[in-house]
Each structure stands twice: as C-alpha cells, then as structure tokens.
C-alpha cells in the first residue's frame, strides 16, 4: 500500500497590488490559506504535516476556522462558501452561494452561529451575513459601491460588523439584524484590511495610502491612528492583533513588517520593524500577515513564509516556502552530499527539498527563464522553456553558476541527458531531434515523423524516440547522427514519456492512451504489459533505484506502482495524489516515491508490501 509520509505544501496564491488574508486557529497553531482550488491547513509547529482540501469547484480565496475549531468556512471566486468539518473525512456541513462574484474575506461571529462574507458583488450586494447552518440572511448591508476587500465581526457583545473596500470607505453596522450605522471616509486609497482587537474595544483599518486608522469598537468613532513617524513607506496590505490586544502587526509593500504598540489614547507607535531576508526584488513585498499565539507569520509576494517569534524579537525567522504554480518536473540529485529533491514550475521557480526536513531553499539562477522541460544530473541542470533555447547551468554545491544557452531552432518538447556522459543531450523539437555535445549543437537530425518524446541510454550509445503515431524508434548514437536500428509498435496513442531503468537493462514507455509498457533493452521484447489501469493520459514514469518497481503518474490524479516480476494486476494504486493531475515522479529510495502535480504540492509516499 502507499501511505502519505510527507507533504511539501504549496505556497498561498498571491497577486501583485493586493494583499492576501490568511487566518489561523490559536488552539492548534494551525494556519489556513488558499492556493488554486485547494485550501491548505498547516501546523506551524510541524510544517511537514499539511492537509489540502480540494472540494471547491473554483479557485479558493479565503478560509477561516470557526471559534470552537471544529469547522472551517472557505470561500471561492464564484461566490460560494463551503462549511466543512475540520477533522475526519471533512464532511460538508453546508454550501451557500453567498455573493455573485469573488469573495475576499469572511469571518465567523464569536458564538460560531453567524458568518459575514464580503467581496465583489458585481453591482448587487457586496456584503452578506448569514446563519452558518441555514444560510438565512441576518441584515442588510448597503453603503458600499465598490468591491469590499475586508470585513470583521466584533468578538464581544454587543455585536458589530465593520467592512472596508475599494471605495475608500470604512462602514460600521449594528445588529443583529445588522443595519448601517455610520461610514468613514478618512482613507485616500483602497482600504485593504480591517480587524477588531480580541477584546473588542478597538478596530483598525489599513490602506494602500500607507495609513492605519484606529476606531472605538462599540461606537465606531475614530480615536487615533498609526503614527507616521517610522511608518510604512508602501501600501499596507494586512493587519493582525496580538492576543493581548496591545499590539498589532502590519505588513506592507515596502518589504517590511512592523509591530506597533497601541496606546490607551488609541494611537500606535512602532515597536520594531521586521525585515525578512530576501533578494530585494518585487517578490519580497509582504502581502499577508498573521499574529498567532507566539508566532508572527508574514508571507511575501513570492510565496515565502517567514515566522518570527513574538516573545524573542531578535530570533532569526523560520523560513519556508513552496510552489504557487503547477509543478512540472521533479528530479532527485545528490547536492552537497545530501539527497535533494528538485522541483520546478513553469514560472521558472526551482525549489530544493530534503526528505524529513522539507523546504531547503530556492535555487536562484542568474537568468530566470521559464521552465517547461527539466532534467538534472549531479553537477548540472539542463532546462528549456518556451523559447528556442536549452540552458545548461552548472551547480556549485547548492548554488547555480552561470548558465549557457544553446539555440535549437524551435521549442523543445522533451530533453534527455546521458547520465554517465552528461555532455550528450538529446532534444526533441517539432521538426526532429537535435543532439547537443557540451554547449554546441552537434547536428540537427530530421527523422521524418513528429517526435513527442525521447530518451538516451545512460552510457550514451543508444536512443529511443517516440512519435506522435505511437511508434518507438530505436537508434544507435554515432558522434553526430543517429542510425535507426528498430521500430517497436505497441502503443495506441502518442508517446508521452520514455525512461531507461537505472541499470539500463530495461526501458519503459507510456502514451496518451493511458498505457505503459516495459521492454527488455537487449531483446526488445515486451517484459511487462497490460499496465492499463490509469483512466487518463500518463504524464510521467519513474524507476526505483534497483529496477524492481516502476511508478506511473497520470492526469487522472493517481500514481500506480507496479512490480516488474509480477503481473500488472498486482499493483499499488495511490488515488487522488494531486488535484488536477500528477506531472512529476521520482523515487528517493527503494520504498519511497515522491510525486508532484497541478496543485503545486509535492508529496512523499511510503510503499509497503501487502
């Protein structure tokens, strides 16, 4: 059976110019954020245990724990709110169509009976408050004319709701049933976040005009502001109160987070400024922040979490990150003596992961190009993107050196490197196959059919090219040309991937018709067939280091592991490995396989024999 052993979760989806509102559950130190269609719940004290909830039909935007910690309410861009149980099988309690457009923020009332949601109502209501189990409305929320970016529920009685939005207004509602009471137009730009203090005496609004204003919690009157001395120099995207209601954390586009002391007269003074480590680019703008128990969590635009300690201000933050976009390729290479998993996504982000520890940093390249095909050997990365170039980037320990690009004439569709002779690389393009020796094109080879996948043997003597018609052509490799030796016909769809086994005695091929076949390399006979158990195209194949097991990953979100010596029907199936499809697979050792997919997460599975 295959059991999940580690999850390297994705990072929250971010957008330039907007903040993200993450939330948490103080009782279990868990944070909740959204990426793509998944809602990720992650424990701050055990970051490798992340759970993803994937039941939304549209991109999820916000998720909040109920006050008693048993339920989660999550919202998406279609205006739907799902309330589901946090434990066990995440049973759905209710689903409501709350707004007609995207929901930006939602909050539970402190007694857990009502939920307020705000967002883009497309001309109709922008804010709605409703009972959590029946969905009946509990008030009329007029007063906004543009998208409402944030809303908050007063945590103590008498209940109040405050909202703020793109029309620069901060509105105050009394109830239940909630009715408009007053409005403030003190901000001069989008008001991004509004939050009540945990004791309910004050609330604070922060805006893209770099100001933060503090109001009285019961009456709604403005009482003070965050003093501009040493204040933020960029839009403030989010604010979070400390559990004792005496301090707030704000995060801003000026790449810093600040902790403010809120004095009795309602003004805020900067206590300290936190500057997370970063390369200084746009990706370091901080778009989300949360104060949870002793943790100060800040999230940057690039998706990096920095967790500071509130009680020990000078401690270095714990940094971790993940992918935001679909992970397209995985490779396991030893880096610095340690077995590292490298994952890449099409936006050019390469992340290193170490089993048991998790995030081990990003590989920063000098030329940050997009990546479509990726392969790695011990001292080099070979990537290609959407232009006509293939990049060879040397690895010095865990840093990237200067890469060199080779132009191959058209967009590469597949890459393969001869593991024992890494200067030979074969590239498949629309017009044929190109052989690279070192950084030069040895020769372009016109094969006469449309190539869809290829592989070169580890010793560089043989290559297999798969065509759009499902035929496998075997060539022997000369110094600058290929000589065809045989054609194998068994597949009934375009070949998607071909891989030699680590000892090169066998090779495996897979196609778009959901079939995989293992062949003996010398006799070119079929060794294992009937590997037809997927229900959609097979995207990736991986061999176990000793050649005993082979794993296939498919668009149908499952990973199937077969044993070479046993019939295909005795297989191990891992269902639902990645929402949206599995795109990368690799074995870390004889019993663990790591998979990556469209949900931007990477999971390590432990295989046990029945």
């Amino acid at each position: 059976m295959g059991e999940l052993s580690e999850t390297y979760a994705c990072a929250p989806a971010t957008e330039r110019g907007r903040g993200i509102l993450i939330s948490g559950d103080a009782a279990t130190s868990t944070i909740a954020y959204c990426c793509g269609r998944s809602v990720v719940l992650r424990r701050l004290d055990a970051p490798l245990e992340a759970e993803a909830y994937g039941e939304h039909a549209h991109a999820a935007t916000a998720a909040r724990f109920s006050p008693n910690g048993e339920w989660v309410a999550s919202a998406d861009v279609s205006g739907a709110v799902r309330v589901w149980g946090r434990r066990g099988d995440r049973a759905l309690k209710a689903e409501f169509r709350v707004l007609s457009g995207r929901i930006d923020d939602l909050q539970w009332s402190p007694d857990g009976l009502r939920i307020v949601a705000s967002g883009d109502g497309k001309g109709k209501s922008f804010v709605r408050a409703f009972m959590w189990d029946s969905g009946t409305n509990v008030g009329e929320f007029d007063g906004h004319s543009r998208r409402v970016l944030s809303c908050a529920f007063k945590p103590t009685r008498p209940f109040r709701i405050v909202t703020c939005g793109e029309d620069f207004l901060v509105n105050f509602y009394e109830g239940p049933p909630f009715k408009f009471k007053q409005s403030h137009r003190e901000h001069s730009n989008f008001v991004n976040c509004i939050r009540f203090s945990p004791d309910g005496t004050k609330f604070i609004s922060v805006s893209s005009d770099k100001k933060g204003l503090i109001y009285d919690g019961k009456t709604g009157a403005k009482i003070g502001e965050l003093l501009t001395e040493d204040g933020h120099k960029g839009s403030i995207y989010a604010v979070s109160w400390s559990p004792d209601s005496k301090q707030v954390l704000t995060v801003s586009a000026d790449k810093t987070a600040k902790v403010w002391d809120i004095t009795e007269d309602g003004n805020g003074k900067v206590n300290r400024t936190l500057i997370p480590p970063g390369s200084g680019g746009v990706d370091d703008m901080i778009v989300g922040g949360l104060w949870l128990n002793d943790y100060l969590v800040v999230v940057s635009l690039g998706g990096t979490f920095n967790v500071y300690s509130a009680s020990v201000p000078d401690k270095e933050p714990v940094t971790f990150s993940g992918h935001i976009k679909t992970v397209g390729a995985l490779a396991c290479v030893p880096l610095n003596g340690q077995k590292t998993i490298l994952s890449t996504s099409y936006d050019g982000v390469i992340i290193r992961w170490i089993q048991g520890i998790g995030y081990a940093g990003r590989l920063v390249r000098k030329d940050n190009t997009q990546i479509k095909c990726f392969t790695a050997v011990e001292e080099e990365l070979i990537t290609s993107g959407f232009d006509n170039k293939v990049w060879r980037i040397p690895l010095n320990g865990d840093q990237c050196g200067d890469g060199e690009a080779v132009d191959v004439g058209s967009q590469p569709k597949d890459l393969s490197v001869a593991v024992q002779k890494p200067e030979i690389v074969l590239v498949a393009t629309d017009s044929g196959v190109v052989m690279l020796r070192g950084n030069k094109v040895a020769s372009p080879i016109n094969v006469g059919y449309t190539v869809s996948a290829l592989a070169i043997a580890p010793d560089g003597s043989e290559a297999i090219v798969g065509g759009q018609d499902g035929k496998l052509h075997i060539y022997s490799v000369n110094s600058d040309s290929l000589t065809e030796e045989a054609v194998l016909e068994k597949h009934r769809g375009a070949i998607t991937v071909i891989h030699y086994s680590p000892d090169a005695s066998m090779f495996a091929s897979a196609d778009t018709n959901r079939e995989a076949v293992v062949w003996d390399r010398v006799t070119r006979e079929v060794k294992l067939k009937n590997m037809l158990y997927h229900t959609a195209r097979i995207n990736c194949i991986a061999w176990c280091p000793d050649g005993r097991l082979i794993a296939t990953g498919s668009l149908d979100t499952s990973v199937i592991v077969y044993e070479i010596d046993k019939p295909a029907s005795t297989r191990i199936t891992i269902k639902g490995a990645h929402l949206g499809g599995v795109y990368g697979l690799s074995f870390v050792d004889e019993n663990s396989v790591v998979s990556a997919g469209e949900d931007a997460c990477i999971r390590v599975w432990r295989l046990t024999q029945q």
Binding site: R492, N530, L532, Y533, P567, A568, S569
Partner: protein, 143 residues
C-alpha cells in the same frame, strides 16, 4: 448431437454442448470457468476450454487471447459483509480493442442469443482490456 436454432441477428447457433457445460458449472460445480469461442465454420458457439474447480481467476485471464474475442463464464466465491459464503456466476464478454473489427462485430451480435441460453447468470461484464475485468471489479459487483 448439436442442432441449430435460428438467430435473427447473426445466424449463429448455440451448440448443445455449450449449454450442458454451463449447467455443469451451475448445478454440479464441475468447473471454475468456461471459455466459449465462435466457430465460424460450424457457425455456432462452442466450448473452447474449461477450468478445474481448483483454478483461479488469474488462470481465466491468462487463457483469454490478447487480440481475439471470447465469451467466458466464471463462478466467483466470496464472503459477504454478514459473513456468509456466497457464489455468483459472472458472464464476461471479452472483446479487446486490439482484436479485428469483424471479430468484435460477430461476438457482439451473437451475444444476446447466447445469453438467452445461459439461464442463471447473475452478473454480466463487458471487458475491452484486462483492467476492465480485474478481480476487484467482480468483487465490487457481487454482493
């Protein structure tokens, strides 16, 4: 002695022996499985192979050709949720996608006539590749 019966759709008859073998499987439990083939020369459905009661489902799967159609009958023994030992008969129409179109058509049109003769089949499965007649699928259908 075999005699022909009229089949409006394809003219295939059903040999008596085929029916008798099925009754032996059903009543006397003499076989675990029976594989039937359409003999085009004699224009009828005949028994190609039978399996002893000790053989398994894997033996049946191994006996089916990869690129030609067959009919098969299999007696599945299983234990239900309430812990009773039960046995159900499955009719499997094996029609792999790699077989010739003429064979697929022949077997498809003769199937209903043939099924009519086999009285007492509990479940029918149509399989176009080995993954569709996996033992798990049979177990799931049986209750």
């Amino acid at each position: 002695m075999s005699f022909r019966m009229k089949n409006a759709s394809s003219g295939m008859g059903v040999a008596d022996h085929s029916r008798d073998t099925f009754v032996e499987l059903q009543r006397k439990k003499l076989h675990r499985y029976v594989i039937y083939k359409i003999d085009e020369n004699k224009k009828e459905v005949v028994v190609e192979k039978t399996g002893a009661p000790g053989e398994t489902y894997d033996d049946l799967t191994a006996s089916l050709p990869e690129d030609d159609c067959r009919y098969a009958v299999y007696d599945l023994d299983f234990v239900t949720e309430e812990n009773c030992q039960k046995s159900k008969i499955f009719f499997i129409a094996w029609s792999p996608s790699t077989s010739r179109i003429r064979a697929k058509m022949l077997y498809a049109t003769s199937k209903s006539r043939f099924r009519h003769e086999l009285d007492g089949v509990h479940y029918e499965i149509q399989a176009t590749d080995p993954s569709e007649m996996d033992l798990d699928i049979l177990r799931e259908r049986a209750n």
